[in-house]
């Protein structure tokens, strides 16, 4: 293993151990396992803020799912780099409001079985497996939320999760070519697509319950400090990897990137510049959340951790700002508060469209953000809140629309025709 990769493993271990320690301190040692087990049975569809059940408990859940991601990357014999760091950080982020060890594992097993059928290594499908946990709420939903006896519900949930995971590789590849890599959360698009069918079946059977929003409005010092402390860890690690001059030039190099999938900044630019980009992105959008007066709760932290994760895999300060500005301005134009649940989450997760701003410039970025915030408001109900990466679903649709028009315009230039 390369020194840079070892350093990244060490960084992630430090972060995960810190989260575990903070979780234990906040929750207290009493019946910790019992509480964590109970959390596995809680509803996980959008939006289920796990911090409502206990801040420490949510931090422990984040750490446990993060460990799962890290262990899988290690044993799948793939590089811990920009893309895999993005998957682990995103899984951690969504463990504040949806992912648990119980509901994520069956989906991963399903993708693993698909890799066996396709006769490819699990490493080849590892990104699909990890991001595929976006559809994990279906496991919890079928197991515990539709009123079945646990003896029936639990096997049904697990088998359904495995089955959905099994078909994800086929869908993910096809949908990727639809938006051509301009939406970073492609698995969110794929899981939303699958979620449409699942929600329709559940609806036909009379089993689809209406969506509910569990959203903590209270502030917690521990949650408020998660992003700045993690950013500090990233900055310290960046200093240990390269000299400050190299780090700064690497950071500037990263800002010049378009960000279209798959862009591994950690390898193509500089590791320290990438880590600095991750930290700066985290701090900028953390300040944005505080600036608009939104609470730092589970879903918001999920958005912040996802932005940071993709700081090595497509997002830069430069290509995310136009998108978020588009969301912010449209929210104000529609008379909504930027701090309310849907707009604040849309602002953070809309950065899935960052490559559009990176490739086509500032105004297309603003346009993409504006379309996205309108679309994402309704998409969650389409898949019954089963796709945690709802913004990835809406982002995939938005990117497909914009890219289709741009490509049609550029493909119809007469000077390129033989006639």
């Amino acid at each position: 293993m390369h020194k840079r990769e070892r350093t990244l493993y060490l960084l992630m271990l430090v972060i995960l151990c810190s989260l575990t320690l903070a979780g234990v301190i906040l929750e207290g040692p009493e019946d910790l396992l019992g509480k964590l087990l109970l959390l596995q049975t809680r509803g996980a569809r959008l939006i289920s803020d796990f911090t409502v059940h206990g801040v420490g408990l949510a931090l422990l859940n984040v750490a446990s799912v993060g460990f799962l991601g890290l262990v899988l990357v290690y044993f799948a014999a793939i590089n811990l780099s920009g893309p895999t760091l993005a998957t682990i950080m995103t899984m951690m982020g969504f463990s504040f409001f949806g992912n648990t060890l119980y509901n994520s594992t069956p989906v991963i097993i399903g993708v693993f079985l698909a890799s066996k059928l396709a006769k490819v290594s699990f490493g080849s499908y590892s990104i699909i497996a990890l991001f595929g946990t976006a559809i994990a709420p279906i496991v919890t939903y079928l197991s515990f939320e539709i009123g079945l006896a646990p003896m029936i519900g639990i096997p049904l949930g697990i088998v359904s999760g495995i089955g959905i995971g099994f078909i994800l590789p086929a869908i993910a590849g096809t949908l990727l070519s639809l938006h051509q890599g301009y939406s970073l959360y492609n698995m969110g698009f794929a899981c939303g697509f699958v979620g449409l069918f699942i929600a329709s079946i559940l609806n036909a059977l009379g089993l689809l319950q209406p969506l509910a929003v569990l959203w903590s409005e209270s502030s917690s010092l521990a949650l408020t400090l998660v992003v700045p402390v993690m950013s500090l860890f990233f900055i310290i690690t960046a200093f240990t990897l390269e000299r400050p001059g190299e780090m700064l030039s690497g950071f500037l190099g990263v800002q010049g990137q378009i960000g279209r999938l798959p862009s591994d900044y950690y390898e193509s630019e500089s590791p320290s510049g990438t880590l600095l980009n991750i930290a700066v992105l985290g701090l900028i959008y953390w300040l944005y959340v505080l600036g608009v007066g939104a609470p730092i709760n589970g879903p918001v932290l999920g958005g912040l951790l996802t932005i940071m994760g993709f700081g090595g895999f497509g997002k830069t300060v430069k290509n995310t700002i136009p998108i978020v500005l588009g969301v912010f301005l449209t929210t104000l134009l529609l008379g909504n508060s930027p701090a309310s649940p849907s707009p604040i989450l849309a602002a953070l997760f809309s950065t899935t469209l960052a490559p559009l701003a990176g490739q086509f410039g500032f105004f297309i970025g603003i346009l993409a953000g504006a379309i996205h915030v309108i679309v994402v408001d309704v998409t969650a109900s389409w898949h019954g809140g089963l796709d945690l990466y709802n913004n990835g679903f809406a982002g995939g649709l938005t990117a497909s629309l914009i890219i289709s028009v741009i490509h049609w315009l550029s493909a119809n230039r007469t000077r390129e025709d033989f006639t």
């Binding site: 490493g123 990104i127 990727l176």
Partner: protein, 121 residues
């Protein structure tokens, strides 16, 4: 069928890349064996040594990236920029050699199972 699809995609991707240089001549040659294949591409586009080196580097990535090659491999052949597209191809093949024919480029791609031996030049 898998081999046919893979070959046709790779040929498409490489010719797409070479046609961007607007060559007057472009030759594609395929030699298939039981456990592998050899693809050759020739064009008449003049390139600098620096450009050739960039293509060579992109087609021969330092590390294998199965997590990117399998999933994002389908992205190659779209309008990705030169480095990204060739790197995606590089992650999917066994070896590539790039020679400057001046004018023109000669790219050899070898792909196949572990038992397929890439001939030494």
């Amino acid at each position: 069928m898998k081999r046919k699809e893979f070959l046709s995609r790779l040929i498409g991707e490489m010719t797409d890349f070479l046609l961007e240089g607007d060559p007057l001549r472009l030759v594609v040659s395929l030699h298939q064996e039981e456990d592998g294949a050899h693809l050759s591409f020739f064009d008449d586009q003049e390139r600098t040594e620096r450009e050739i080196e960039k293509i060579r580097t992109a087609l021969n990535p330092k590390r294998n990236r199965p997590e990117l090659a399998a999933y994002y491999g389908t992205m190659a052949g779209r309008d990705l920029n030169l480095g990204s597209r060739l790197k995606l191809i590089g992650w999917q093949i066994k070896q590539a050699t790039v020679t400057n024919n001046n004018p023109g480029i000669h790219i050899d791609l070898w792909l196949g199972s572990d038992s397929f031996i890439v001939p030494k030049k």
